[in-house]
Symmetry: D2
Subunit: 293 residues, 4 copies
């Protein structure tokens, strides 16, 4: 017999994740700020709630996938927030990319109510979410992580456990996004140098994607950047949000991250030039512009 799961946040990532949970046999009770996003799910018989509290069952499981710290605070702690209704024994599986500081703070508040906060941020773009190919980092209390396990298995292709500290899975997620952004800048600088020497951008990138850099990040983003063809996916302004989370975490940890500062500045400049809603690898266009191309 399957559990009923509360599911909050039906954006470009949350929506395909919710669908995979349905496919796996879970009964969902969904909430999204803009209710129209739920229409096709409702047409398939899914129940929709009017606010986070309504989709949260006492002692049950609620999953959240929202856009930033503010949104997560809102659905968790705001009026009709989920925390009030989750109660003893409940588990909140939080998949959003948020600050480790917020994750730690929310985990404390959940503990006060005898329920648990499991950080479970994911790697993968919407296509990967749809294909059940997400990579998931988890951290939090052991029992709660165990309860989250089957749900996470239904939506991803691998789960990596980073211990009890609820902030740690978010640190790892931020590290990953930072490394991805750094790879983009590095590819763009290399491709511009190649282009200025008359070398075909796509040929060079294709070679690297088959040899030393034969991994998804370099293959997929490398192709986009080489072709300068950016499909809508993850907006630059969200990329900037993530880089700010990285730099905030670095400030807390008392360490400079010069590559992170540099990529942050590219994103900020891209937004200043009106590209904020473009897909985030589009910041690499600034590398070409600086080169007079």
């Amino acid at each position: 017999m399957t559990e009923r799961i509360g599911f909050i946040g039906l954006g470009s990532m949350g929506f395909p994740i919710a669908r995979n949970l349905l496919k796996a046999g879970y009964e969902l009770h969904v909430y999204n700020r803009d209710p129209r996003k739920a229409e096709t799910l409702v047409a398939d018989g899914v129940r929709q709630g009017l606010h986070p509290a309504e989709v949260t069952e006492a002692g049950g499981i609620v999953m959240t996938m929202v856009s930033d710290d503010t949104a997560l605070e809102q659905v968790t702690l705001g009026p009709d927030g989920l925390l009030e209704h989750l109660g003893p024994g409940g588990v909140h599986i939080s998949m959003s990319t948020v600050s480790p500081a917020l994750a730690r703070h929310l985990a404390d508040l959940h503990a006060e109510k005898d329920c648990s906060y499991v950080a479970a941020p994911v790697f993968g773009r919407p296509e990967a979410a749809e294909a059940q190919k997400l990579w998931i980092c988890v951290s939090g209390a052991g029992a709660a992580k165990e309860r989250a396990q089957p749900l996470l298995q239904a939506i991803g292709q691998g789960i990596y456990d980073f211990g009890e500290d609820p902030g740690n899975a978010n640190i790892v997620k931020l590290c990953g996004n930072f490394m991805i952004a750094s790879a983009m800048e590095a590819m763009a600088e290399a491709l511009t140098l190649a282009e200025k020497n008359g070398i075909d951008r796509c040929s060079m990138m294709s070679m690297f994607g088959q040899t030393s850099f034969s991994c998804p990040i370099y293959q997929n983003y490398g192709k986009m950047i080489a072709e300068r063809r950016f499909t809508p996916g993850f907006q630059m302004r969200l990329g900037l949000k993530d880089l700010n989370l990285v730099l905030d975490a670095a400030e807390d940890a008392k360490m400079p991250m010069p590559f992170a500062s540099l990529v942050h500045d590219r994103l900020l400049s891209g937004i200043a030039k009106g590209k904020g809603t473009a897909d985030w690898p589009a910041f690499t266009l600034l590398v070409s512009e600086d080169a007079g191309l």
Copy 2:
């Protein structure tokens, strides 16, 4: 019937390459500045010459794998250099990591003598050279590249052609080294942030090596950097040489490469602090030092 090949430069890369050519049935005539490096080859019956000219046959093939621009100029143009003896129809396969500017200049000088210069820089560390697993970029005149083909197949696992411009294979090689160095810095910044949050460096790096960054560069260098265990391979001062070639090429192309400048500065600082002979990923220790670790 096999050709006799002149082979110049028996360092940590040249030596295993020469051995693989022997294994493939080629007869070699070798030269190395320090003749002792040739001893084991000579014991196996290989002929050794006293200077580059001596191992170069008129109209034949000569391969070079030396440490930098100066050394390549020396063996090619210096007294008893190879170019004087290579003559019409000869092919010089140049595998060293040198400046595109030098490659272009040497190609012109070869053309004046009716022989050919093929740029064929390789990717891979000494272990890869030994295992015949190098990736090779080539550029130069078509007929000469064709003649070089079987030799390159005997030492590598893949050959990528970047056209006629003899400088282009070197540009691609420099782009690769730059991207590798950038990946190292990015990994080090991420690992330091993780470490400062109590996350195990190796666990995090291992996850990335299995997921978004499942490619040799991140897996191999990632392990070294996470463990802070640097085996002798490619010295930091050589890494600095390469980054200077990158920045010189960027200057010629009129483009800033801020990641390259930053990694250059790490290497320069590492050398200033007395680490010049350490393996080049050791520059990432400076990321920890800046963080007070």
Copy 3:
């Protein structure tokens, strides 16, 4: 007949400012979190209050000089804060280096109570404050600035008006601190290059201080940095606070400030290495360390 002025914050800057107001004939009513800092003033007959509200007179003038945004919020809006008691017609002259965002927010809250917030951040170290040699930037409502004028004249050597927007004087103050920090980094890089070439640091700096850079910042900080002799003044952790305010303002304004990011990183690294309480030009020691000195 002189007004009685509320004065909040008797730190290394506030104390000498308060004394100059006394000298100019103003009657002060002072408050400081640590009451012992007021002892010598009390011995001279100054009245001391137990909390900000107590030193604030309805419709009067209250001056604040505290360490950061949090402290200013505390004394203004906290329990027994000054705003509740300032009331219609009152003027709050805020000399602290705080974020433009907070200045604008506080100005709105003051306006709601029919009183005024004048931003009046100052340039100068404690010695300058003592010598009545501060430079003062002001912004805010015209009438309130006029009422502040004689007090500011009593403590500084020049007042510069940056209009009505209460955040603007703070922007200018942050710009100044940023330019000072950048000058320090530039001097340190130049001095290290000179030192490594056997040139005497002090001779070179002295020349620049007499010629192209004959101004207080280069003369005074230049001497400290050249001699590597840092007298306690303004701690590195406060310098970092200011650079963070600069970078936050740049984020709001959507613009990269690469020099600011770099100096920020120096300060962060200096603090990570345990130098947080040293005088802030001490971050330039990291330039020497990076050079292996």
Copy 4:
């Protein structure tokens, strides 16, 4: 009785310097690659030579003010170069901004011929040269510097001695140009932040020029940068040349200079965007562009 002086290089700096020497009563024998630049001097009775050697007297004094290392090598060592004719006891006063490495190399070659090389690079734009207001750094052998003294006094307002090492005056000159360029970037970042907050650029810069930064560099360049009005003076491509000399010297000294790298990149990017012949503070326009202005 006055000496006859050889004078080589009548560009925007050399021309007004030569005129001041004439005014001071020196008899000049001039050479310039483009002979037309000497026309007005010739009209005033000055003798003109056809090549550097012709204006050089055995055992005499020859002054050079040319555009870069290549030009200085050319006029000194090239065919009909000055060194062959300077001979025992001669003094070469070299005012160009060149690499310390070249200065040291040329000094050695002069010593071999029993003559002396005095490095005497100058600070000041053409207007300052005209007004006899240059600041001059000297280094080299003591007796030669003494002989140079009255000539340098005739063209500058102050002479600073940096010892015997002929490279040192050039190091100091490069340090100065680097500090000037850094000040420009810092001003531009500050001004852009101010502008984005609605603060008048000129008012802010004028305040700093009257207070903490009351020195020529901040006053003069500050005004240009604030007004975005760049009068032809010293081209960006020459600024880039100087920053490359700085970075080369830093490489030799084994030290990173991150501010220098950053300013170098601004100049390189400015040139890539077609601004190479604009006055060098024009690189600050890129700060505005990055901010979307």
